[in-house]
Structure formats: structure tokens, C-alpha cells
């Protein structure tokens, strides 16, 4: 069936071995989906003009919520009436994105009836993103979503965004915290912040079960919760010898399961960032006090090494993508915290952090930028945290770090004249 609009430039995106979203949209358009037909035309025009034809933002939403719906309009409704209104709806995904197929079918049926049928599973915040609907469909969609599927809208705008976590203990033997429980609890506890904007800008929580950080919490979230341990890496010396003897495949066979020589010095010891390991030919020794929990040795020899058993989380703050300032990774502010329900200690910290950011943050300023502007020292003070060598990347290289001028006689002021009188040369 011929499509309504010719799309020679979009067609280029169907070439090559990869799945193509253009093919998917064309498939729906060929079934007579008017929104998809005009979406193809509008995108082709944008490619031709080299500028977007989407208008950004609006007042549309559902009653009582200040987020979850993002108004989108085409600026050429005369040419593409099917996408004149094309609002995005964010739906809060279940923790770790576990669904039944029944729920997935219901979401798809609902979106076929009330929207374009196009989805993005999932957006980078983790939400189920339903792409393209009209204003009159928003309230009925919200009703069906909440009443028939037991699901809710996610965060957008200056709200707390939909929290996201890795699979955690449900499937991963390395997980030091129950990320699903943490994410579900944060979501339920802070419903008001999720649905009603209150911050200077967006705020994201992400939780990873171990320092491998599969959800990239350290790079993407204003508050990163990363599982760790404070005792020793568990060592099975028999299994270490089996790796060295070539009986077990390193990296759990990820690089091939055939037997091969394994050089523990080259592949593990020399790659340890703190050189805290030694191999005497029979036993592996780890100086755990020097370990920075990078997980490399554990990933190479998963049968031999495991995280410790006294587990909790490191809390870091301030990651963001570049908008006002450059991209930033989170900074460590709480080296270790037990993360057990009801997460009281964590929530106390969160509320102090939010109070400060709400009072001090400028419009469209992420938490990390406020910290950068007003200093990490100030942030630690308002959150009742103490500076700790573990917050410094190379504390042994330069241990003379004072966080507060009040801790130093004379503060930061330096009387050069008086200094020169005492030191002539």
C-alpha cells in the first residue's frame, strides 16, 4: 500500500543490518494509522529543512498532576493534521521493568485505542514512553491506566523523576542491596514530589546493586545509590587455582568458553587500580583496606571472588548531562550506609538535601550545579555530613585538604608581607 507521504530521506534509515524505527512506523501507517502517516511526512520535512517542526511544551496534563504528560504540537498542522497534537505520556515502569505479557498487551491495546500506537520501551529515565496522543484522550487514558492496569504516570518537568534501578537481587548475585525494594519505596514515599513540581529543575534517583553500576547511576542521577560492602571480598582459593589452571573460563565465558591459558598477574593483579592483590602461585591475597570496590577482579573470576556479606550502599550526588554546565559524575558524600527498609537514615538525608537545594538552587540549576556554585563543603554542612578521605580521589597523594577555612588558623587569608618578613629569601 502506498504511503501518504514520500520519505526518501527517512528511507535511508531503513538500510543496513539494524532494526529501524522508520520501518516500524511505516508498518503502522500502512494499516491506515493517520498519526503515523503524518508523523512520517513531518519527519521527512524536518530532515529536508534541517530543523524541527515540533513545538515544545504546553499546559496539557491530567487533573492534579504537574508532570507525566509533555505537550507536543506540530508547527505545520496544515500539512500534517494527524500530528497537529502529538503529546508524550510517561508511564512509571515497575521496579526493574518486570512485566507480565498480559500487562504489556493491555498497554499496547490501550495505546492503540487512545494514542498513535507508537511506544518507546523505555525512555532513558526508565519510563514507558507513549508517543503521540491528543488532548481529549489524556483524561480517559489516565483513567484506564490507573483503574484497569494499576499503573501511574511518571515524572517530568521540575518534578522528582521516575526513580530507576537495576535488576538487583532478583537476578544478580553481585547485588549488595535490594534495588527493587529501594526504588519502589522511594517512588511510593515521594509521590507528591513525583507528581507535583517543586524543585528548581529535574531530580533523579537511580540505584545500582553493585559498583558495576548497570543503570549508570553515577553518571545520570542527582542522587546515586550504589551497592557496596564494607567487609572483605570472599575468596574461594580452590576456584582461583582452577582459573589459573585453565579449568574455568574467565569472565564467566563472556570472551569464549574454550579452555585457554589464564595469566592472573596480567589479567587481574596488574589491572587492579590500587594494586591491592598478590598471587603467590597457590593463594590469592587481597588487602581489602586498599580495595576501592571497582569489581574488576570479581568480574574476571566470578566463581572465585564475591562481594563481602556486610553490604549497604554508597550515596553520591550531583551527576548530570551538559545543559547549563558540562557533564558531571556524582560525588561521593556517604561512603557507606545500610539500606534496609524503611530506609529512614537515607530519607533523612534526602530531605535535608532537598530543603537546601530548594532554598538555594537557581532556576534550571541541577543539584550538582548548585553544589559546584556553593561548594561541596557547604552541602556537607547542611546535610550534617563530615568530610572523609574516601570523598577525595587521591587522598594519599595530597592529604592536606581542609574543607573549611574555620578549621585552619587564619582561614584562607595569607599575609604575604608578614610572610616575607619571616622568610627573607
Amino acid at each position: 500500500m502506498a504511503l501518504k507521504h514520500a520519505t526518501p530521506m527517512l528511507d535511508e534509515l531503513e538500510k543496513g543490518p539494524w532494526p529501524s524505527f522508520v520501518t516500524d512506523v511505516k508498518r503502522l501507517a500502512a494499516k491506515g494509522n493517520k498519526m503515523c502517516e503524518d508523523w512520517l511526512g513531518l519527519m521527512e520535512l524536518s530532515f529536508k529543512d534541517k530543523e524541527t517542526h515540533w513545538k515544545h511544551g504546553g499546559i496539557v496534563g491530567v487533573l492534579g498532576y504537574g508532570g507525566g504528560v509533555i505537550g507536543r504540537y506540530a508547527d505545520r498542522p496544515d500539512l500534517f493534521p494527524g500530528v497537529a497534537h502529538f503529546h508524550t505520556v510517561r508511564v512509571n515502569q515497575p521496579s526493574a521493568k518486570y512485566y507480565t505479557t498480559d500487562v504489556l498487551r493491555k498497554i499496547c491495546d490501550l495505546w492503540d485505542a487512545r494514542g498513535s500506537g507508537l511506544t518507546n520501551m523505555h525512555g532513558s529515565t526508565g519510563d514507558i514512553v507513549l508517543l503521540g496522543t491528543t488532548t481529549d484522550q489524556l483524561e480517559p487514558l489516565f483513567y484506564d491506566l490507573t483503574h484497569d492496569l494499576g499503573m501511574d504516570l511518571g515524572g517530568s518537568g521540575s518534578n522528582m523523576r521516575t526513580p530507576e534501578g537495576c535488576l538487583g537481587k532478583s537476578r544478580c548475585e553481585w547485588s549488595c542491596i535490594d534495588t527493587q525494594e529501594i526504588i519502589h519505596d522511594i517512588t511510593m514515599e515521594y509521590q507528591d514530589a513525583l507528581h507535583r513540581p517543586m524543585f528548581p529543575y529535574k531530580f533523579k534517583f537511580k540505584a545500582s546493586g553493585c559498583p558495576c553500576d548497570c543503570v549508570a547511576a553515577i553518571a545520570r542521577s542527582d542522587c546515586s545509590i550504589i551497592g557496596t560492602w564494607r567487609d572483605k571480598i570472599r575468596i574461594d582459593q580452590e576456584a582461583v587455582r582452577a582459573y589459573v589452571g585453565g579449568e574455568l573460563s574467565p569472565h564467566a565465558g563472556a570472551g569464549g568458553t574454550e579452555k585457554r591459558a589464564f595469566d592472573i598477574k596480567e589479567e587481574v593483579l596488574d589491572l587492579c587500580p590500587t594494586r591491592c592483590m598478590d598471587w603467590d602461585g597457590k593463594n590469592l591475597k587481597i588487602w581489602d583496606e586498599d580495595c576501592t570496590r571497582c569489581m574488576h577482579c570479581i568480574r574476571v573470576m566470578p566463581r572465585a571472588l564475591r562481594p563481602g556479606v556486610d553490604t549497604g550502599a554508597s550515596i553520591l550526588v550531583g551527576a548530570k548531562a551538559p545543559i547549563l554546565e558540562g557533564a558531571q559524575l556524582s560525588s561521593l558524600v556517604i561512603p557507606f550506609m545500610k539500606m534496609e527498609p524503611p530506609f529512614g537514615e537515607f530519607k533523612e538525608f534526602v530531605e535535608k538535601m532537598w530543603d537546601w537545594w530548594m532554598e538555594q538552587g537557581k532556576n534550571r540549576e541541577r543539584l550538582g550545579e548548585t553544589i559546584q556554585r556553593l561548594t561541596l563543603r557547604e552541602f556537607l554542612k547542611v546535610c550534617d555530613l563530615s568530610a572523609d578521605p574516601r570523598m577525595v580521589s587521591t587522598p594519599r597523594y595530597n592529604p592536606y585538604i581542609f574543607y573549611d577555612p574555620a578549621d585552619v588558623p587564619g582561614g584562607w587569608e595569607h599575609d604575604e608581607k608578614a610572610f616575607r618578613e619571616r622568610h627573607q629569601a
Binding site: G58, P77, M198
Partner: protein, 78 residues
């Protein structure tokens, strides 16, 4: 207190030339109130239909209902 604060916020919004306001800007009308508390007051104004949300997707702003009309928005006038 809450009613008086609401009035002050609305007066502030009406006195401004621009139509969309950040939450921080609304709080300038009630500087003595902590932001957490101010958020509740602003939300009450939204629930009462005296203010409306406007969202770009990444940032949320507030406007008077008279300024933010869905019909106008859909016709491209907002």
C-alpha cells in the same frame, strides 16, 4: 496565613509582564515562607484553578488560567 499568601502570590503574578513563572519566582512573593511550605500553597492555587502548570518537558512553570488556554495553545497562540 495560607489565604493571605495565596493572594500575595496571585498579585505578584498579575503584576508581572511575563506570563510564565518559575516556582522560585512565585516564592519571591512570600519570602518569609520556606520553599517546602510554599510548594503546598502553590499547589493549592493549582488545585483551586487559580494557577496552571506549563511544562516544557524538562522544566515546569506556572501561569494564570487566563493566560494559559488549551484552545489557544492548540491553535498555536501560546
Amino acid at each position: 496565613m495560607s489565604e493571605e499568601s495565596k493572594e500575595r502570590i496571585l498579585e505578584y503574578v498579575k503584576s508581572q509582564k511575563k506570563t510564565k513563572h518559575y516556582f522560585n519566582d512565585l516564592c519571591k512573593a512570600i519570602p518569609e515562607i520556606k520553599m517546602m511550605q510554599a510548594k503546598k500553597i502553590v499547589n493549592e492555587l493549582v488545585n483551586e484553578g487559580k494557577l496552571k502548570y506549563w511544562s516544557s518537558g524538562s522544566t515546569t512553570m506556572y501561569m494564570l488560567p487566563s493566560e494559559g488556554d488549551v484552545d489557544k495553545e492548540e491553535k498555536g497562540m501560546n
